[in-house]
């Protein structure tokens, strides 16, 4: 019997879920809430640029972005299936969600290599 391809998608979903859980709240808190509100002294442009443009950071950001995009694709696909009862649009939804995730991952790859 043919086994489903779902394990690969689930592995990406899980990887992205874990990355998002571990890293995103702290980034969001410092960069978008505490920084703008002045609760913390926002890092200077030079510090941030040096940090963000470091090759290791780019590599990390690419991994984080790609996995998080596929995390969304997988979860959102099932949200549409179950939440809106769209089982008959099965194929279309899968193509759209994973397609968008693939395009976004490629765009992130371009940005983080030649785009910076």
């Amino acid at each position: 019997m043919k086994r489903s391809r779902e394990p690969a998608l689930w592995a990406l979903f899980s990887g992205g879920g874990m990355m998002a859980a571990l890293f995103l709240p702290a980034l969001a808190f410092v960069l978008w809430v505490a920084g703008p509100l002045g609760w913390v002294t926002a890092p200077s442009f030079e510090t941030l640029a040096a940090l963000a443009l470091h090759p290791l950071t780019r590599f990390f950001l690419f991994g984080l972005a790609g996995l998080c995009f596929f995390h969304w694709a997988h979860r959102f696909r099932y949200t549409l299936y179950d939440g809106l009862q769209l089982y008959h649009l099965d194929r279309l939804i899968a193509v759209l969600t994973y397609g968008v995730a693939t395009l976004l991952t490629l765009a992130a790859g371009v940005l983080l290599t030649i785009g910076l």
Binding site: A21, T79, D82, L111, L116
Partner: protein, 141 residues
């Protein structure tokens, strides 16, 4: 014997009843509401990653470009919106890490490691990652 009051009924041909599932079934029970909220954190994850990439792109284009992003980030409604995004991301983290013991079953010298220990280890890792990011971003406090 009660007589047939339902005109569609014919003896020996059972008619089973199947209910129609409401479109908003996920509002019908507290557990389902929590489930759908958890599932709907995924667009916020994408939003956060995209915003992060926008910010990194602006950093690469130099101080004036970055300043424009900073100014936008400092506007009142934007901060309020990002507080909401942060809440969604925290909800994702908490629900995600809480499920870790279901997937991860470890054995140590024959005995199963208690769920509480596995959960605590995951939340510890979250704290460690957050502290590391804070240290990197906020001038190594």
């Amino acid at each position: 014997m009660g007589q047939a009051l339902n005109p569609d009924h014919t003896p020996y041909h059972p008619k089973w009843y199947r209910r129609r599932i409401p479109i908003f079934w996920w509002l019908s029970k507290r557990g389902y509401v929590k489930f759908i909220t958890r599932e709907l954190t995924s667009p916020f994850v994408v939003y956060a990653v995209l915003l992060l990439l926008v910010q990194v792109g602006a950093l690469a284009r130099g101080q004036p470009a970055y300043q424009r992003v900073e100014d936008w980030l400092g506007r009142g409604p934007v901060v309020a919106w990002h507080a909401f995004v942060l809440a969604a991301l925290v909800f994702h983290s908490v629900t995600w890490l809480n499920l870790a013991p279901s997937a991860l079953v470890l054995r140590l010298r024959g005995a199963r490691v208690p769920d509480g220990v596995i959960r605590a280890a995951h939340f510890g890792a979250w704290a460690a990652c957050s502290a590391m990011l804070g240290w990197l971003l906020l001038g190594r406090v």
